[in-house]
């Protein structure tokens, strides 16, 4: 065998190597899966003296979570792990229930309607009593005493829009709603205590309703593109825009008292936790909150700074800091990229690690699977079609499905990305092997090569460029989708993108989006080179 001309030997050698790595890969993968599943279920038991604080992916939630975290750090010996910016109520709640986080800020109204699916009530005390009793009974989850302010839904209309007909209440709005264009957040559109209920209560019938991202709504309203929007009563931006908040004259919106939702297990394990968090009872009113939010949203100050200022103003923590840093102004893109280079490099490394790990595991699983399917042609098409279904699950939904099983953070993110990477590799491995030079395969068989030799010496080397093309597709998908990992707290370049979307700051968005796009292009180009390099020489039209 040593006498073979180098190229054939080389191509076959890599193929051979790949096959063996593949077999070992399956074992490694099984081991890893086992490891991951135990890590997921034991994550609570495994950590002692450590509390995981989560938050949803909007600034007030992050601010409250950061205050919880700093308070715990400042007044107990517990270490705090932050999982801020998880995607929405469902993700946070599932993470809490699964024990992936120990507490996160929540609102009584959300607990009542979105989680318990109870009809909304106008009575704040009754709402709190209900969620407390039910969460405790059903899931051993505890609501802290309310923090003192409410962040409820309200409808707002730009004052400029009222020149001809001044509106004061939602009933006033109902009378003219058929001429109004509305822009509402995604959650508001779906929730029972959002638009559907509101429409029934007031008989609202808008001319046009658009689903819009929170911060874009404000800009659209200021630009006169929409006439009505849903707002949160503590939104800091209200200070910057001239909007009239309509009076909820028929008491539709349920109370949304801010509080903390904590796992009973965590409170029992660390009794000091309840005592320390209790210090925040009634600590903030809506006006204070709006100002804090303003600093975050419009001033672009970091959550850590604003949280520290708020806590030290209440003398709950002491700081040896020489006063708050001046709020950073909005920067142009390139100075911003430069001044944030260390963070961005860290994010890029995180991003590459997530995508690379997922792709590596994808190769280990998908190539052996493709080889196996090539030998079991009858089941191949159905199996590949089933794997193809993963491509049709929206990424954010796939990430959400991972939480009950794997919790939050890197493990579910890598698992989801791994699932995405499988299809292109399996499909190309299978079809590349199946369709590789059928006449050459036929003659190899006619001259007495065994099926194993044909696979090894003919099919694999000839299919290599096709397999590589699948790997390349998988790599680009994985790098692109990894931006969404930020939604379940896995870091990566999605973090600045999500943060920028919340602040409606294009510079911050681009500081994540540009490196992510550059990364995808670079990887595509690199793997394109590998694809050419791996192509057996005789297949090149123009031999070097």
């Amino acid at each position: 065998m040593t006498g073979r001309v180098t190229h054939a030997a080389h191509a076959a050698h890599t193929a051979h190597h790949r096959r063996h790595r593949g077999r070992r890969g399956v074992a490694a993968l099984l081991g890893l899966a086992l490891l991951l599943s135990t890590a997921g279920s034991n994550s609570v038991a495994a950590r002692d003296g450590r509390v995981v604080v989560g938050s949803k992916n909007f600034l007030e939630s992050k601010l409250l979570a950061e205050m919880f975290a700093q308070l715990i750090e400042g007044r107990t010996d517990l270490a705090v792990e932050r999982r801020l910016g998880l995607a929405g109520t469902q993700v946070c709640f599932e993470a809490l229930r699964a024990g992936a986080i120990d507490l996160y800020p929540e609102y009584t109204g959300t607990g009542l309607t979105a989680i318990l699916r109870r009809p909304p009530t106008g009575d704040a005390r009754a709402a709190l009593a209900t969620v407390r009793a039910e969460f405790l009974r059903q899931w051993d989850l505890w609501w802290l005493n309310p923090l003192g302010f409410e962040n409820a839904y309200a409808l707002a209309v730009p004052r400029a829009r009222m020149a001809d007909a001044p509106l004061r209440t939602i009933s006033d709005l109902a009378a003219v709603s058929s001429s109004m264009r509305a822009g509402f957040g995604y959650e508001f559109l779906k929730r029972q205590d959002g638009l559907p209920g509101l429409q029934t209560r007031y008989g609202l019938e808008f001319r046009h309703v658009r689903a819009m991202q929170q911060s874009l709504k404000y800009q659209a309203a200021a630009a006169g593109e929409i006439d009505v929007l849903d707002i949160y009563t503590t939104d800091g931006r209200l200070a910057a825009y001239d909007f009239v908040i309509l009076d909820d004259d028929r008491q539709f919106f349920p109370p949304y008292d801010a509080s903390g939702l904590v796992r009973g297990a965590a409170l029992r394990r660390h009794p000091e936790l309840g005592a320390v968090l209790g210090l925040l009872t009634n600590a903030f009113d809506a006006r204070t909150m709006r100002q804090l939010n303003y600093r975050l949203q419009e001033g672009g100050e970091p959550v850590e700074t604003v949280a520290r200022d708020a806590l030290s103003a209440l003398r709950l923590i002491t700081t040896d800091d020489a006063g708050p840093a001046p709020p950073p102004g909005r920067e142009a893109l390139f100075p911003y990229l430069w001044s944030h280079r260390t963070t961005l490099i860290t994010r890029t490394v995180e991003h590459l690690a997530l995508a690379g790990l997922a792709l590596g595991l994808g190769l280990l699983a998908a190539i052996p699977l493709g080889l196996l399917l090539e030998r079991r042609r009858r089941v191949a098409e159905p199996v590949i079609r089933i794997i193809g279904l993963t491509q049709t699950i929206p990424s954010i939904a796939l990430l959400a499905f991972m939480i009950p099983v794997f919790g939050i953070g890197e493990i579910p993110a890598v698992t989801a990305l791994w699932l995405y990477s499988l299809f292109p590799i399996v499909r190309n491995t299978y079809s590349g092997l199946r369709d590789a030079a059928p006449r050459a395969v036929e003659s190899a068989r006619a001259l007495g090569m065994t099926e194993g030799q044909i696979l090894h010496w003919v099919r694999l080397p000839l299919a290599a460029p096709v397999i590589m093309a699948g790997v390349r597709t998988a790599a680009v998908i994985t790098v692109g989708t990894a931006t969404l990992a930020a939604f379940i707290g896995a870091g990566g370049l999605g973090v600045p993108i999500v943060a920028g979307l919340q602040m409606a700051d294009a510079t911050v968005i681009l500081s994540g989006a540009l490196p992510a796009a550059a990364l995808a292009l670079a990887i595509d180009a690199l793997l394109g080179r590998v694809e050419v390099w791996i192509r057996p020489r005789g297949l090149q039209r123009d031999p070097a």
Partner: protein
């Protein structure tokens, strides 16, 4: 006197899927040292019959014997390494050089590299391909006729005593085809191999074949020497085939 058959096909039928009857009860012998030509229109079962001979296909019913023993009882890999095969379109491995392609069967049989290289060069010489120029080329760098000659050299490499050729001069222009036919006739004199060759060109069959087997719709219509076929066609279709040729050749 008639030498004992090297290969014999006994009442072999081949059915593909539910109703494609590619061969229907074909019985014939291939004699030692002869060149038997299989002729028939497209789809008549020529390739299928050839594939039965080296066990690439097992007949649905009937049997094929190699040196008197049923090939069902023998290792097909073993058989194929002992029988040369030239495919309808050369079928060279595109990612292997000419030398690797020609040396394929010797390599499978575990020949020493030096012995293999010597054999490859000798065969390329035999095929009028200068080894120094062609050894390291890839199939894409060859003309159609050169590819056919490499495929032919590859079939001869391990000195098999039987060679199967499926339209070896198929997709070639008339001049190259003629030149290769001449070369084949020359080789035939020097080689002692038994050959079974498929063609759908009657001229080629008459020129190269010691005997000719005529197939139609999976049935063997007639088998015999060229002059026998010309003199006493056993079937209207054979007569038709010959007449057609005679007319075609009229100036």
């Amino acid at each position: 006197m008639t030498p004992a058959p090297v290969l014999s096909v006994r009442d072999a039928s081949q059915v593909f899927g539910a109703d494609v009857r590619a061969l229907r009860a074909v019985t014939l012998d291939v004699r030692h040292g002869e060149t038997l030509v299989l002729i028939g229109e497209s789809g008549s079962g020529k390739t299928t019959l050839l594939r039965l001979l080296n066990g690439l296909q097992t007949p649905t019913s009937g049997d094929v014997c190699l040196h008197g023993a049923s090939i069902r009882a023998q290792d097909p890999i073993e058989i194929r390494r002992r029988i040369g095969y030239v495919q309808q379109d050369a079928g060279l491995l595109p990612h292997w050089t000419v030398a690797d392609n020609v040396g394929l069967v010797p390599w499978l049989l575990g020949w020493e590299p030096a012995r293999r290289a010597g054999r490859v060069d000798a065969l390329l010489d035999l095929m009028n391909l200068d080894p120094r120029r062609f050894r390291t080329r890839y199939p894409v760098e060859l003309s159609g006729g050169q590819q056919q000659r490499v495929a032919f050299a590859r079939a001869l490499a391990a000195d098999p005593d039987i060679i199967l050729l499926d339209e070896p001069f198929g997709a070639l222009d008339a001049m190259t085809r003629h030149a290769l036919q001449q070369q084949f006739l020359g080789l035939k004199q020097r080689l002692t191999q038994t050959m079974v060759m498929v063609t759908h060109d009657l001229d080629e069959a008459l020129r190269l074949g010691d005997r000719i087997a005529v197939l139609k719709e999976g049935r063997l219509l007639q088998i015999g020497r060229p002059d026998e076929l010309l003199r006493t066609p056993a079937h209207d279709d054979v007569a038709h085939l010959l007449r057609y040729r005679a007319e075609g050749r009229r100036p």
